[in-house]
Amino acid sequence: MNSPDPAAVAARIAPAPGLFSGISWPADGRLSLVLLGLGAVLGLLAAGFSLFTAKGTATRSVPAEYIAVVNQRPIYVSDYLDQLMTQFNVSIENASVEQRRTVLDEMIREELFVQRGLELDEPSIDPDVRNALVSAVQAQIAVDATSQVPNDAELTAFYRAHLERYSSIGYMTVADLIQRPDAGGPAAGESLTNAAAALHSAQPLAVVKTRFGLEESGAAVGEQVYFAAKLHLGDRLFAAAAGLKSGEVAGPVKAEDGRLHLLYMVANTPPQPRTFALARNEVYGDYRQDLLRRIRDREFKYLEGRADIRINRAYQP
């Protein structure tokens, strides 16, 4: 096999005459060294310019969704429009040049101060900034939780698991009877027991009150929701009343005031589970709170897990 002619090979790889034909290139691979050095110098110049002047890396054009870019930090058009509405209650179409300039100047000023605050490490010094940051992070978690819209199957499962939360509030009309102070005859206990028997035998309440010298204590007048009835009657009487059906009687019961009472239930509507359809809004709110708590706990555990936390032995709790 013949070896290729060296002169022919050299002719093939030689640069074509043209643009650089007048330049005499350094021989022996020095060209690559020169280019390398030139590149390094240019790179260092660009890096230095970028490092020492914020403008060095600035975007020349402002993207359409930003109204301004301050040291590479964007100010969103939507925030600017919100601010115009909040501050002057005008849409941009109706805002004066002065109003538009005022809002923009204030937003740029705020951005510059925020950036300066970070440079000064304000979060590690100022308790207000720290609190604001903590609440901002927690709020962001809440926003994340809200964006995860649960489907009805998830909400229904939550509703079933916490059915007691979604009961209606019960209400009752109860006559809380005590012996009148001026009533003669037998002792309160005996009188109330007899009155109870009379009510059991379906005698009208008004008749029984007159016949046995009773009056209403005045603690629970008219229709009362359960929590109000409990507050007004006290725990013992409420416990005795809550289980009564309309027309039933309980007592005599010794109440917290030391007196004997007779309870006659006029009407009782105990709590009932509200349907999922009616309770859905509340279920969603509770589901979200529950999710939020779990996400916050998870976030804290994650942060704690990746953090290097060392506690001074002298101050170990």
Binding site: D82, E93, A139, Q140, V143, T269, L278
Partner: protein
């Protein structure tokens, strides 16, 4: 002249790439126009409105239909309002109002969300978490419901109940949020109590439940989750449909 197959394929490929590039550039240009045109002015530009509709519909289907319904007419089970009628619960229905609600949500936790008021639960021991309001008795709630139904042209079973309910409307501070004329207050998101404003259904049972146990609807904040151009497109699309409704 002989045409070779590889050449034809190459030409077709270049033509397809060119068409895609033109389409991409046109789209990018429209996106930029949509963002740079002031919101209410953009809503008056038919080309931008059409572009907004093309961009908004898939996003609405993906993110909003789950609560507001596939046709965006709302859903009483979710308490999600109709997005394409003329009634706006928050704001006055301007593009910028709609955009703000989409960006920051309602009771979403976002610092700029709508979160100034809730509907109290008047049967509860503490009806309102934000400040003190007195509870109402069950009978009073029935009276209030009778009054509101009467306002909506529905006959109350007991006319005296509606009359008592009218007095309670003031006593329970209903007017404070819903206004004396019951037309609602869009600055705090209190819906109208007149027809079309009922978020949770128009039955008497639903009304009594709302007054008894309260409501506080939630809408997520989409800023940072949807691109600004999509948010603007949705706002313009909803504004347009609302105007045409």
């Amino acid at each position: 002249m002989r045409v070779r197959t590889p050449h034809v394929l190459l030409v077709l490929l270049v033509a397809a790439a060119g068409a895609l590039a033109v389409r991409y550039l046109q789209r990018a240009q429209m996106e930029q126009r949509l963002l740079e045109t002031w919101p209410e002015s953009a809503a008056l530009d038919p080309a931008l409105v059409q572009f907004a509709a093309d961009r908004a519909v898939p996003a609405l289907t993906e993110h909003c239909a789950v609560c507001h319904g596939a046709n965006l007419h709302g859903d009483t089970l979710h308490g999600a309002p109709d997005l394409v009628d003329k009634e706006w619960i928050f704001g006055e229905g301007r593009v910028v109002d709609i955009e703000q609600t989409i960006n920051h949500g309602i009771r979403s936790g976002d610092h700029r969300d709508h979160d100034l008021a809730d509907m109290p639960g008047f049967l509860r021991a503490a009806p309102y978490a934000r400040y003190h309001i007195d509870s109402l008795q069950p009978a009073e709630i029935d009276d209030l419901a009778a009054f509101i139904l009467q306002m909506n042209g529905r006959e109350a079973a007991d006319p005296r109940a509606a009359s008592r309910g009218k007095a309670l409307f003031n006593k329970a501070l209903c007017y404070d949020c819903h206004t004396e004329s019951a037309q609602g207050d869009p600055s705090i998101g209190a819906p109208s109590l007149l027809p079309h404003g009922w978020l949770f259904g128009s039955s008497r049972d639903a009304l009594v439940d709302v007054i008894s146990y309260g409501r506080a609807g939630i809408c997520p904040a989409w800023a940072g989750r949807l691109p600004p151009v999509t948010v603007r497109a949705i706002a313009i699309y909803l504004h347009d449909r609302s105007e045409k409704s």
